[in-house]
Symmetry: C2
Subunit: 389 residues, 2 copies
């Protein structure tokens, strides 16, 4: 199944995927999902947020499987899609062995998990559970100034339908399978593991503001260049995160006006920060922002801070986790990566399965999982559904 | 006349100008120039590089005036256009007083002086004088991957006509009037000054290359993130330039893949560096690149250096400079900014007039010159033409 979507949204230059919410690649993937549901005679439901659900059976207390199809810029082939194809494959295996589930089994594809276009991760699941206000999500703009509302309307979706969804009341548990984004399973020698927790994490935008001027004619002493304060903040972020065992990344930047021979008027930098607990994350961000303020004050520039999103730590349902770990005899591990499972876990008992990643590389075209390990993931997910449904 | 073009290529949000070679704004400005020439009965010549010349009279040993109409991103209203409108105004004044020039007087508008779109400053004048190879210029790409050749062809210009031009043989001297990009004239209390020299300067692209990975799941110790080495280089550049009285600026950046939750695979940074003499510039760039290499080596990342352009120091024709300074009783000053006059000076006796800039700010919407000082500039240029022609 991964082969069927291998070309959708793939950049020919980098080999990475660029599958952004409500873009052309996303629409092709939605059609692919619709086709997979139809081929299995599963009833397709799309909620007002663009989340797609394929139902095997109907009624309450459903066992939800699935993940997401969108990607970060130049993402890999497994982050998201592996969970969806593994879920369909588990349904196929169970049907082939004549298994009759005692509760509905649903394969879900959550909209805009990565937040690559509109800046809010897990937007589809957050809207469905009420964790994210519709008005805030709909007003988010992409790099071209297009709002989520306009992007949805352009695809025939009614922005007024965005928000809490009815299907959630019929879900009794959620199990998301995902490629591991790290090397814990390599170290433990297992093809599949079970998640214990997701670290708290957040995104902040730091606008370093100065004054544009001529790069050749303006003396260094006369500048109000915001770039050095940004640079000092990058180095402070690395030092603080390394010292505390946390993570801090600047992966997205905008420089205005952006000319080679113009001193910038503004450097906007997006910080992604995560830590093992909320207190550590708060301290990391506070110390990093203090370093940025010190640097801007010394340069006659200013810092404007915008908190785009903060997600608390997620501790997955312990009975469900223990039951799955026991069924699979699989190791238990925590992760620094956010997932729709983290969002759903606030509303229903939720678990995650991870499939081994030999290099640990993710959010990159080099992301990989061995075919045998992917098959082991399907086998594990099938066993979990057999046990729970 | 500045009012007539005040709206062309102006960004409504910033108030700055975005007039890039062969873009829509550039085409409107070309039409404006054509109209100004026609209104004065001056013969318009456009050479194969897109440089426009309006001739009052014909024949050899012409006195060339003028400047450029294009801008940096979010540039000011004066950088370039002030020289052209002042030249037309000088022609008007001389004609009103019945002056009969003894040699042709030509108003020139040079193509793509800022190099904002294709990365090579003074492209039009460099091509006309043979300082820049046509094949190299034509292959330059803008941010959308469009080559100069394609951009010219899309506007009906034949890329095969790019290169050395015939009109240069008929030019005996060039005087470019320009708004000052600094505050030397404020300090000397004069509305108009005469240039002595242009600092040597250049543009380099530094590609910091690492490995994309997940911002949440990848430990700081396991990263090959190119951003910290870029940051260390920014701080080294400021320290080195400040210590040596030179200038170093990073005003343009590209980050791949550019996602908030992805460690960058590549940071491409454009360095603009200038110094009082070639040796100082060479040393500045060498020390800065050494700092970048040290930082990348420590991080397991790599540096790829591309020299995009290097312009040697320009010392303007001394007899012409002294004659003009004497005619005007004006101060003489050097500048760190490059100009078409610097290019032409390699071929014909060349001089520059600067008009006072109260804040020194340029390459910014805040660039300004007082109306009285602009009028003083026209008066000075008129006097220079009266003396030389």
């Amino acid at each position: 199944m991964l082969d069927a979507i291998a070309d959708i949204g793939r950049d020919p230059g980098t080999g990475g995927y660029r599958r952004y919410a409500w873009g052309d690649a996303d629409m092709l993937l939605r059609e692919w999902f619709t086709g997979e549901a139809a081929a299995r005679g599963m009833d397709l439901v799309e909620d007002g947020n663009g989340n797609q659900l394929a139902w095997w059976g109907s009624g309450p207390d459903a066992l939800l499987l699935g993940s997401h199809l969108d990607s970060v810029p130049d993402g890999g082939a497994y982050d998201g899609p592996l969970g969806i194809v593994s879920s369909f494959a588990a349904v196929d295996r169970l049907r082939a062995e004549g298994f009759q589930p005692s509760r509905p089994v649903v394969v879900a594809s959550f909209a805009d998990e990565e937040g690559a276009r509109f800046g809010i991760a897990c937007a589809g699941s957050q809207l469905a559970t009420g964790a994210l206000a519709p008005a805030r999500a709909l007003a988010q703009k992409d790099r071209d100034g297009i709002t989520l509302a306009a992007a949805m309307a352009a695809r025939g979706r009614d922005p007024r339908a965005v928000g809490r969804t009815a299907w959630l009341a019929d879900v009794g548990a959620f199990v998301e399978l995902h490629v591991e984004q790290g090397r814990s399973l390599v170290h433990s020698g297992a093809a599949v593991g079970v998640a214990s927790a997701i670290w708290p994490h957040g995104r902040w935008r730091l606008d370093f503001c100065g004054e544009a001027n001529h790069a050749g004619a303006t003396r260094m002493e006369d500048r109000r260049d915001p770039m050095p304060a940004y640079a000092a903040t990058v180095l402070a972020a690395r030092r603080l995160a390394t010292e505390s065992g946390a993570r801090a990344t600047f992966g997205r930047l905008e420089v205005e006006p952006g000319g080679t021979n113009a001193i910038p008027s503004r450097v906007s930098a997006w910080l992604d920060a995560r830590a093992g607990d909320e207190e550590s994350l708060d301290r990391l961000v506070a110390e990093l922002v203090a370093a940025a303020r010190t640097a801007t004050a010394a340069d006659g520039t200013t810092l404007h801070l915008v908190t785009e999103s903060v997600s608390p730590a997620v501790r997955f349902d312990v009975p469900l986790r223990d039951r799955i770990a026991s069924t699979l005899d699989a190791p238990v591990l925590a992760t620094g990566a956010g997932h729709d499972a983290g969002v759903l876990s606030a509303r229903v008992p939720t678990a995650m399965l991870f499939v081994r990643n030999p290099t640990g590389v993710s959010h990159s075209p080099a992301e990989h999982a061995a075919d045998d390990d992917c098959t082991a993931g399907v086998t594990a997910l099938t066993a979990v559904v057999r046990d729970l449904a």
